[in-house]
């Protein structure tokens, strides 16, 4: 999740050019290599551009013999990381059915399904079995954790610790550290729950505190609900 992020200055020139290409001359088979390079750049620099990736998927649709399934897989992983935005589906609409039947794509579709239906435990289990796919893209874990927190914060005013732990796949001491960090910087409040449990109170928003809703037109930017937290460990 998260749209364009800060890129190192030298890279800014290249991204700017590719974005320009997509805006000005998108129906051009010659830009295919540039778009493929741009996907790899998004992976290594942890940036993201849906428009450029859709443009590439379209070109693959026009000339299927030039399709690189490795690049397509990377695009899909990046799209998963953009959740809750529906980018993953948008990409699937452009990928031929026979390609989607390949093993790695079936796995990615299953992962997407788990995330779409809030099945975080199953998601992390499956992701662990498919490390080769997801570890190839830096920032994957953090992006999914941010999505998990987003959905939880839409739903709960107070989250029991085990529920949070399962959703973001962090436990024990790591979770303690994580929670301390969020309490210090992210406005989270840690409370004592029933028995010896812990309750986590996420920042209030209009979805878990309807009294905060000012009008139907108001909507909360994604970044306010879930801070993009720094990488821990």
């Amino acid at each position: 999740m998260g749209r364009e992020r800060e890129t190192p200055k030298e890279q800014q020139q290249v991204s700017y050019t590719v974005e320009q290409l997509v805006a000005v001359n998108p129906y051009n088979p010659d830009i295919l290599p540039d778009l493929e390079n741009y996907v790899n750049e998004q992976v290594s620099l942890q940036t993201y551009s849906l428009d450029a990736n859709l443009c590439l998927l379209r070109l693959y649709q026009f000339e299927p013999e030039r399709m690189s399934t490795q690049i397509v897989a990377r695009i899909l992983v990046k799209a998963l990381m953009a959740m809750p935005a529906p980018d993953f589906s948008l990409c699937l609409f452009l990928i031929p059915e026979r390609v989607q039947m390949e093993e790695q794509f079936k796995t990615l579709i299953v992962l997407s399904h788990y995330l779409e239906t809030g099945r975080f435990r199953q998601f992390w289990d499956e992701a662990a079995k498919s490390r080769h796919i997801v570890e190839a893209v830096p920032g994957f874990e953090q992006a999914i954790q941010a999505y998990a927190i987003h959905v939880l914060s839409l739903t709960y005013q107070k989250i029991p610790r085990p529920v949070l732990a399962e959703a973001i796949n962090i436990e024990g001491l790591s979770l303690d550290k994580f929670l301390e960090h969020q309490a210090a910087n992210g406005g989270w409040i840690l409370e004592k729950g029933h028995g010896r449990g812990q309750l986590i109170v996420l920042p209030q928003n209009e979805f878990n505190h309807p009294e905060l809703k000012k009008s139907a037109a108001d909507s909360v930017p994604l970044e306010h609900i879930t801070r993009i937290f720094p990488i821990l460990g």
Binding site: L50, P84, S89, F93, E97, T117, V151, K158, S219
Partner: protein, 533 residues
Amino acid sequence: MATNYDYEEAPATYDEAHRQDLGYDPNFVPDSVKSLVVHLYRHIREKNVYEIHQMYEISFQTLSDRLFKDTPWPSVDAVAHFVDNDQVFCLLYREMWFRHIYARLSPTLKQRIDSWDNYCSLFQVVLHSVVNMQLPNQWLWDMVDEFVYQFQSFCQYRAKMKNKTEQEIALLRQYDQAWNVYGVLNYLQAFVEKSNIIQILEQEKEGLEQFTATDGYDYSGGSNVLKVLGYFSMVGLLRVHCLLGDYQTGLKCLLPIDISQQGVYTSVIGSHITTIYHYGFANLMLRRYVDAIREFNKMLLYIYKTKQYHQKSPQYEQILKKNEQMYALLAICLSLCPQVKLVEETVNSQLREKYGEKMARMQRYDDEAFAIYDELFSYACPKFITPSAPSFEEPLVNYNQDAYRLQLKLFLYEVKQQQLLSGVRTFLKVYSTISLGKLANYMEVDDPTLRTILLTYKHKTHAVDSEGKVISNADVDFYIDDVRKTFSLCKYLCAAEKMCFKLPCVLYNFIAADTDGIHKQLWTNLRLGYVKT
């Protein structure tokens, strides 16, 4: 082996046989046709837009009905000398000539290719030379619309390789540039760019330009052709992208047009409907149900009020067809996102009449429900295409349904994921607070499963709009809180919804008694549809 022959000299082909049956002579020009082209040519030179429109819309249709019910119009060569062999007029005439073939007859492959050539020539003239004409918006819209339609038709035709003759395959191989997807997209894009239409619309907002106010017409002695073609090409691009399954980009192409207002797109009924139909469909696939519902509602109401005025028009049948398709799409949207308050009374009653029963069944999410979603989607969706060139290797197959099957499959997949939501909704109509434990019990699922169901409800009812903001689609919603030491669901109503849940009187006493067994029974009854709320 057939090479570069003109249809008029075609040896034993479909064309020849067909023509001989009907006694069609391309060189014979009835007086009424001569009169039409002469007058039309004069009106175009005199920039008499009203007269042009009358001839284009009425006279051409009348003659088609009377004289050319199932034959082509006279060839352009036969009429050229009546109009000073004017290049542009001949290109326009030919465009109408081919359009007639597509509408009344069945184009041969050669005709499809020739039509593409004609569009190329016509578009080159408009893009690269100074065209000093004013044409009615109806005509300019029809050109763009027909261009995209013929592209779609060609892709469908080409994808049916199984029964192609050797001649056809040879032609396809030879003329591989005809209706090439790059060509189609780039022409539309070229119109948008060369006309500068995006900047014109921007500047119009600041009062620096006049475009919408004059319906796109140029009252300072210039031409409206490039500008209006550029404008309509944005709708053309939306349509092509929808045919390819790229809904996001399609909507982006439409962005410069503000559909919350009247505009040049509403000046022609066909353009208005095509815009809203594709806008709505794209939003449906993007899960922005509220946006889709709003626009379908407005459009359907407009058609209801104005269709009587179009009864005589050649577009009438198309208007009716799109009307029915949009009702089907609206039924789908409302089944996935029950925001009935967004739908106007008249539209709602029409909807109930056409799809009331089906909508009730769709919301049950059983096997039958999926069959209905399938049926409505298949009826109402665009004719998706596979844009790539076919494989000429044996065995030759038909793959014209592939694109449609993929979109349908992914759509039904999404519907399946939302299956669990209707249970939550039904429940939310009755209770304002309930513990998670009890709720899991009534829904006959375990606690972790209930959690995933509730998270799914939240995720699916909160869409991300084009600016990355989270917007709630839900008409009724909840949050989970620690209520008296028990995790419970607390309902709240969204937007301007009034609390309107009504329990049947006979059950009030039971609810007041607040016993587990009664609640469970109520829940079961609700699920089985015995109790209406």
